[in-house]
Symmetry: C2
Subunit: 514 residues, 2 copies
Amino acid sequence: MNGAESLVRTLVNCGVEVCFANPGTTEMHFVAALDRVEGMRAILGLFEGVVTGAADGYGRMAGKPAATLLHLGPGLANGLANLHNARRAATPIVNIVGDHASFHAQYDAPLATDIAGFARPVSGWVHASTSSKSVAADGARAVRAARQAPGNVATLILPADAAWQEADGPAVPLPHLGPAPVSSATVDGVARRLRDAKKSAILIRGGALQARGLDAAGRIAAKSGARLMCDTFAPRIARGAGLVTVERLPYFAEQIVELLKDLELLVLVGARPPVSFFAYPGKPSWCMPESCGIHYLAQAHEDGVGALEALADAVDAPKEPSGRAEFKRPELPTGRLDAHTAGQIIGHFLPENAVIADEAATSMLGAAMFTANARPHDHLALTGGSIGQGLPVATGAAVACPDRKVVCLHGDGGAMYTLQSLWTQAREKLDVTTIIFANHSYAILNFELMRMGAENPGPKALSMFDLRNPEIAWTDLARGMGVEAVRVETTEDFARHFAGAMRSRGPRLIEVAL
Amino acid sequence: MNGAESLVRTLVNCGVEVCFANPGTTEMHFVAALDRVEGMRAILGLFEGVVTGAADGYGRMAGKPAATLLHLGPGLANGLANLHNARRAATPIVNIVGDHASFHAQYDAPLATDIAGFARPVSGWVHASTSSKSVAADGARAVRAARQAPGNVATLILPADAAWQEADGPAVPLPHLGPAPVSSATVDGVARRLRDAKKSAILIRGGALQARGLDAAGRIAAKSGARLMCDTFAPRIARGAGLVTVERLPYFAEQIVELLKDLELLVLVGARPPVSFFAYPGKPSWCMPESCGIHYLAQAHEDGVGALEALADAVDAPKEPSGRAEFKRPELPTGRLDAHTAGQIIGHFLPENAVIADEAATSMLGAAMFTANARPHDHLALTGGSIGQGLPVATGAAVACPDRKVVCLHGDGGAMYTLQSLWTQAREKLDVTTIIFANHSYAILNFELMRMGAENPGPKALSMFDLRNPEIAWTDLARGMGVEAVRVETTEDFARHFAGAMRSRGPRLIEVAL
């Protein structure tokens, strides 16, 4: 057994079942090993941003890492933007990055690069294997690092000779550390402050945004009146009918400041105090009112669910949470098709247990509003601000959850970064319905130009946000990659096609003309 | 005048006329300044790999840097693979990477990243501006660094507040250092060795692969019998009728070893001794025969053209070079359309002074053979091995040379990485004809799997190189981005459409079904 096979066997033994891959010559032994080992599904992406973004979507939904397989420094480089997003999402991912054989490094051949240099800014753990004998153990450590709460990007650099030389066999999986428990002193301290505060809020991130954590938070809210909030870009949140509702922080800092201005106490569960997404001239980055106390119930690596349940008991909360969303199916709209009416239609037809991968950007509010009381679903946001995440995340989520409908809401500008995702969806027959909100613009930048105080934009500046010349035909792009597609201009057409997509299976794309 | 405007004015004063851009919020002041300053053309790319690859193509053809405008760490990250290629090409490029305002850095907002960490592996020069007052001077230094022979990637990180705060005005351009002259002692030493060696070769890279350098090299060859060679992936070479022919080193190391095996002397002009592109089990990385002397006539940063001319005189070479290519127009082929017959057709119709951007990979040999004696042209290769360079490089070359026909030869696998280039070609009405060699495969990896010694590939391994399921329809992809496209299956059809493309102007794409 060579090093590559020892690594693949170790990954499988550690529970890694999927490898999103875009391999090259240096990865050939890993690729060959895939056929000799049961239990690892290999999924090809035609661009590395698809590969890493899919691993992010998979990890968020599966709660455990997929592997990626990438080709030296440039292959990793193409995947970095979505690894940045994955790092912000705290998604567990194990990157396997092939490198030149160790004896080849000295020659500085064309593909030689500082792989670790590229990897470090996005990785919680980076290691370059030094021998085929240690590759398996390195793989086990990579999985453990990826699974450490709340989740990490772990990057293992695999020199080609460490892959092809003889190994001793797979390594034993390492015990992985769950989230650390929160002390009762911390819980009691927060309980006391919560009783004393008239205006309080609990800001939640991570695993506590699933049903159990939300229930506990809703019980605390029922007792204390605390508002429940989540970040603008929460990695994953369960929402819709039957789930306790949390308010999403708005995008712009001044809106956050307004929302929080009377707050006396902010309790943080796996979250950090809100800050401005960007800085603007003369505006504060820090969004908290000065008089507000900030207390951590659970850090990101700690057990937020357990802490919320303990806090609910500590404040003598009732068994039944407040704020549970009722099922309210939005009416089907008539009239003009826009992001608002499209959102109504999405909320109307969204099936139970769907997964929404949301990079709709300026078109997101309609769907957000009209899915709040729709059938229960998971919502995955663009966590790191690097656009081009939605299509790959949808792809990976569909791999992780083959029995759930995945709906990808995407702006047309952002979707162009990783459009190759559609090909992987077609190849793997993934059940993803992609909605492209086609406003033919980097619409957000028209706002941002003004907000940044750049006066009197001229034609050159405006042309930098304008995608109209030429207009992109998403139906052609999708069909070119084997995905059925349609463009709709009316609410009636969108309703018909979206309803049809929800009833059938497999990838399709609907371009919503805005 | 704010920092951004002082920077744009400085760049223009330093001769930077084009900015390939994919900006975001932090770059808004730079974008706004583009309208207030004459002389900087702004060209939008819908993905950063297009932006940086276009800057590479521009720099290779213009011989001076374009600027790129990129959005924080993730924006730079998406451009890194083609910056890696540009670094290997020694192309002058000035990257302007926007960053959060300095006062925002402490908050670790979602887009915060280690930009310099990403930039270092691909940059010869990296600097983060610390004040709006110094931005202009930083820009002048960036241009000087980019232009230092043989050419560098220079990365200037521009915090948003350094862009929006008040500046003192543009900076004075710095004198840029041309290539260093080669001493007569070096020239005389090489001349002596050349006279003594029976079997010698001159391996040339950089500016000496243009007409003047080639003429001098051909004179030396006429006198000494030295063979003239260039790297497999020379950044830019003038070839075709009337130009002195150089042999391109083959791709595989054992072929290079075979080619060089009897050599007594290798003279290097801006090149390094050839090494294997990848390492393979049991095969050497170093391709030089032990008995061969290696002598540098010019290092990469030195004046290779001047050194070759001095060497020609030192060896008493005749005025007329040997090896000048005659014009031999290939016959139009009949029969099956494949990479070979396609190459004949390309050679037949290639117009004078065309630019070939070549990432045809396993389909490149036909065109290489049949353009050797075609009308004179420039050839741009994939320098760093990171696929997805050809379409952007063609885009940038067309911007640099609006009066020359650009022909992009591309494998279908590689073309998927940066297909968004076609949109920029359509928007800017660039005169690029793209030929996609559609073998629906990462064909090279089928060879490499065997060469790496990975035995008995199974279906999973083979599926990693197979792009047939589903087949990509390049005509749909091109049309979706506003580029006229056709798919051809016969030599007659290809000849007709390629000839038509050579006669007309503007972007079009021909998918060659292999």
